[in-house]
Structures are given as structure tokens and as C-alpha cells.
Amino acid sequence: MKITDEVRISDNGFVFNSRTGDSFNVNPTGLELTKLIAQGHDFDTIKNMFLEKYDLDDLTFEKDFYEFIALIKHHQITSHEDPLDFK
């Protein structure tokens, strides 16, 4: 999974997709996740980083992570070639 080329992410949480013309607001944790994904980290790495930093259990993170991934994919912020990606 990677962030689509046409997507620009600013540090205040504003995301613009020039391919679709859509813009979005992401909250701080959403922004952090998006950046980590953009840097190419895998699920386990991101999970460990989050668990260390936040008052959070692993199952909650997992649920929220995949929900967020599904959303940014839906908004064409990421592109997936392989449906088994991130399993």
C-alpha cells in the first residue's frame, strides 16, 4: 500500500487529492498514521509505535487502524495493487 502520487498532506492535517479534487481534514492521530504509512512502515511497526506512545490496547488499535485504512483507501488517498496487502 502506498500514498497516491497526487496526494499532498500538510502538517496541520489538511489533505488534498489533486486527482479527485477532494480535500480532507485528518485528526492528529490520523495524520500520524498517514505519515507512517507514507514512510512505508508495516502494520506491526506502526502498532508498536502507537502502543508505546499512547494509552491504548492492541485490539483497539487494530480495529481503528484497519477502519482508517479502509477509509483512506476509499477516498483514493492510498492505492492497493495487492488485495492481500497488509494482512
Partner: protein, 446 residues
């Protein structure tokens, strides 16, 4: 190291300058208590899902309807439409408020009798009255509203055999500007069938014609339709007087007033668009009072109002079972109350509300718990983010849901009443395996 507070990651699309169809988003409504009792307390004691009926709302709504009509018309009598909600506890409140009973089957007739309604105060409607039903109705001196000619002849035969007189009215269907016309019930006004039926009844020695009935449809959003209906019945009323020198006792305009629910596909919420009791009362009273009928011979006005009287008094409390993102990114959730309990979810966009302030509203779909694709309570509702176990309230479900609810897949829940003193009690028990064992027979095999 102290860990930071975690917020669920979220992303929301910016729709600049694009207000929703109801204008800018308003503050999310919440329902945390009913008649002063916390929703969480009710669910803790009686389980989830849970139907809750408010006696206070029933009585207040009834009083409002009564006032609207009685201040405009000299003689008004409500008859509680049993099929709308025939829990004994509910019917008894209406009877205490002075309502007669409007029934459409032998079963409902028996229920009304067992609730202590005098037979002469039962209006017996509907196309399905067996000979046994008609006997029961004649014995109890009920007002039998004849639906079709076959019933008329069966009634003549039955009353002759019993050597008793049956008190009857006819149901009339007509063009009142409401389409499609419900012409499957009763005798048509415009084509002369109603007048023919009246003439036949006036010739039958064992029948006494006492009224005229119509029910032009349900959720009628224009009060002028009732004015048309009232005028047409007034014409028949006068025609009977002219030909037979005889005054009927009543004109019954049936039910059909819209409740404040919002119909599917409606552009505006029902509570802003539907006529009030005052509007309906004004239209009907004016039509009758300004008709040809002399003031001293005005008939009693019967009303069989159902949904508009009880919808607001009923709530369904429910719990979130799961959250789910659909393939298209849409947020959805599964709650523990399905369409088998909420028949009216097929007509209305039912109001579903959280019990406390929640954030991150977005368009969502609310599914029931049945393992069936049709089990959708709301297909598009702007709803905040909820966790599993979150308690929600569905409002305005007092009409038709409890009577039409189906047992399916799981037990039907408790129904409780919050009485005028704020006390709660079960008025119909949750089903159990016993409920089914009691009526099923499993034949022994060798």
C-alpha cells in the same frame, strides 16, 4: 514514561459550501431519559431491546386531540383503533379517557369486551367478519360497519335467524383527492353503490342503519381531504333523511391523521409538515357545520384516530452490537433491534438518537441484528461514532410496531409502561422458549 491520551484516527471530507438538504447541520439531538427515567436504568432493569410506552404522552396527546375537536364541534366520540396498538394496558388508558373501541376482527372484538368495553360502544370494521363474528356483534349490540354486499346479505340472514336487530353503518369509499383511492373497502360513493347499499339496508327489517363510515387512507397530509369526505357523507346523510324521513346517529371519518414521523422520501421532517389536530378538526368541523344538515340534527362525529394518537408515546431502546465499514467506505452499525420489531421502518425514516453527547458524525447505515439483507433500520442517517454497547433510542414507534411485530430468529422483547406516577412495569413479557413450547406440538415418531 507517561503515555499520551489516544484519539481514534479519523478523516473527514471537506464539503465546502455544501449544506445538507436540511440546511446547515444542527446540534445532535439526544434522548437520555423518558418521562424523567434514565434510559440506562430502564435497560438495566428490563433488558435490550425494550419497548417503552409513556402513559403521560398517551393522555396528553389524547387530550390535545379531544380539545381540538370538542372546541369546534358539538358531539365528538373517539374510538380507539385496536390494530394500532392493542396491548390491554394501552387500550385501557384510551377507554379511561372515554374512547370507545374500533375493531377489525373477532379477536379484536373479544379483546375489547375483555377490556370492559360495552358491546354497544364497539365499532366493528373490516372486510373479514365470519358468521360467528356477526353473531357475537349482534348479541352485544355493536355497531357493525358493513364492508361489502356479501357481508350485508350474511348479516340479514344471521340477524333473521337470531330474531334480533343488528345496528349497522356502511363503510363508504370515495374520491377525496387522495390517490390511490382505497376502493377495496366499503361501497363507492361516486358510482352509486353506497346509495344502493343504504336503500337495501333500509328495506331490511332486521337491520337498523345508524351511521355512515369512511376511512380515506392513512398518513393523510392534507386536511382538505377530510373536508371533502365529510361533505360527501353529509350528502348521504341528508339524502337518507329526505327519502326515509330518518336521521342517522353518526358520521365516522375513520383514522388517517399523520403522525409526526417522517415518511421515506419526504423532503422535510414530518413534525414540520404534517397538519395538527387543530388543522384536521377545523377542516372537518367546518365541512359538517356548513353542510345542509340542520344544526339540531348534526350527527355525532366519530373518529378512529390511530397512529397520530400513539406514535409519540412509544420508544424502542436498543444497543449497538457492532460497527462496520462497508466496502464503499460508509460507516455502518448493527443494533439489537430489527425490522421484525419495527414494521414502520418500511414507511418511515425513524428517528434514532444517542443517549449522550457523541462526536464525529457522518452518514451511516443502521442495520438490525437479523441475518437477513432486508434488515435495515436506516439506510442513511448522519450519526455520531458509537462504541459497541452504546445505548440508543428510537422514537415515535407507538403505532403498528408492537401489533405487527413478528417473532423471528429471536425472542420479542419486554414492553413496559411508564405510568403517570413515573413507575415502570412490564405490560407484555419477553418471549421465552416456553412461549413456543406452549403452542407447538411435536408428533411422536416410532
Amino acid at each position: 514514561m507517561e503515555k499520551l491520551k489516544y484519539d481514534k484516527p479519523s478523516i473527514s471530507k471537506i464539503n465546502a459550501g455544501m449544506p445538507s438538504k436540511f440546511g446547515l447541520p444542527v446540534k445532535q439531538k439526544i434522548i437520555s431519559e423518558i418521562d424523567g427515567i434514565k434510559v440506562s436504568t430502564l435497560m438495566e432493569e428490563y433488558g435490550s431491546p425494550l419497548f417503552v410506552i409513556s402513559e403521560k404522552t398517551i393522555r396528553e396527546t389524547h387530550a390535545e386531540a379531544k380539545r381540538a375537536f370538542e372546541t369546534r364541534y358539538p358531539k365528538v366520540q373517539f374510538a380507539w383503533s385496536y390494530k394500532t396498538n392493542y396491548l390491554d394496558a394501552v387500550c385501557s388508558i384510551y377507554h379511561e379517557e372515554g374512547s370507545w373501541a374500533e375493531v377489525v376482527s373477532g379477536f379484536e372484538f373479544e379483546k375489547a369486551l375483555s377490556n370492559g368495553v360495552h358491546g354497544s360502544q364497539i365499532l366493528f370494521n373490516g372486510p373479514d367478519k365470519s358468521k360467528a363474528d356477526l353473531r357475537m356483534a349482534i348479541e352485544h349490540n355493536a355497531c357493525i360497519h358493513i364492508d361489502h354486499f356479501d357481508e350485508l346479505y350474511l348479516l340479514i340472514e344471521t340477524s333473521r335467524e337470531m330474531k334480533m336487530k343488528a345496528r349497522v353503518a356502511i363503510r363508504v369509499n370515495m374520491d377525496a383527492g387522495i390517490y390511490p383511492i382505497w376502493d377495496r373497502f366499503g361501497f363507492n360513493y361516486e358510482n352509486g353503490d353506497a346509495w344502493n347499499a343504504i336503500n337495501r339496508i333500509m328495506l331490511a327489517e332486521s337491520l337498523e342503519l345508524i351511521g355512515l363510515h369512511t376511512h380515506i387512507g392513512t398518513y393523510i397530509m392534507v386536511q382538505s381531504a377530510y373536508a371533502i369526505a365529510a361533505s360527501k357523507l353529509a350528502n348521504l346523510y341528508m339524502a337518507i333523511h329526505r327519502k326515509f324521513d330518518y336521521w342517522l346517529k353518526y358520521i365516522d371519518l375513520g383514522g388517517g391523521f399523520a403522525s409526526k414521523n417522517t415518511l421515506k422520501g419526504a423532503y422535510m421532517p414530518g413534525n414540520e409538515t404534517c397538519p395538527s389536530f387543530d388543522d384536521y378538526a377545523e377542516a372537518i368541523s367546518n365541512a359538517l357545520i356548513s353542510s345542509e344538515i340542520p344544526h339540531e340534527n348534526l350527527p355525532i362525529l366519530f373518529l378512529e384516530t390511530g397512529r397520530a394518537l400513539i406514535d409519540d408515546a412509544g420508544y424502542l431502546l436498543t444497543t449497538v452490537i457492532a460497527n462496520k465499514r462497508l466496502n464503499n467506505g460508509r460507516r455502518s452499525m448493527v443494533i439489537d433491534a430489527g425490522v421484525n420489531l419495527l414494521f414502520t421502518s418500511f414507511w418511515y425514516n425513524l428517528g434514532v438518537y444517542p443517549t449522550r453527547e457523541l462526536e464525529h458524525a457522518e452518514e451511516s447505515t443502521i442495520y438490525g441484528p437479523l441475518c437477513m439483507n432486508i434488515d435495515v433500520i436506516r439506510d442513511a442517517i448522519v450519526f455520531p461514532q458509537v462504541k459497541t454497547g452504546e445505548q440508543l433510542v428510537i422514537e415515535r414507534v407507538g403505532a403498528y410496531n408492537i401489533t405487527q411485530s413478528m417473532q423471528f430468529i429471536t425472542y420479542r422483547p419486554n414492553v413496559i409502561l411508564i405510568d403517570n406516577d413515573g413507575k415502570t412495569q412490564i405490560i407484555r413479557k419477553k418471549e421465552s422458549l416456553e412461549t413456543f413450547k406452549n403452542s407447538e406440538i411435536n408428533p411422536k415418531r416410532n
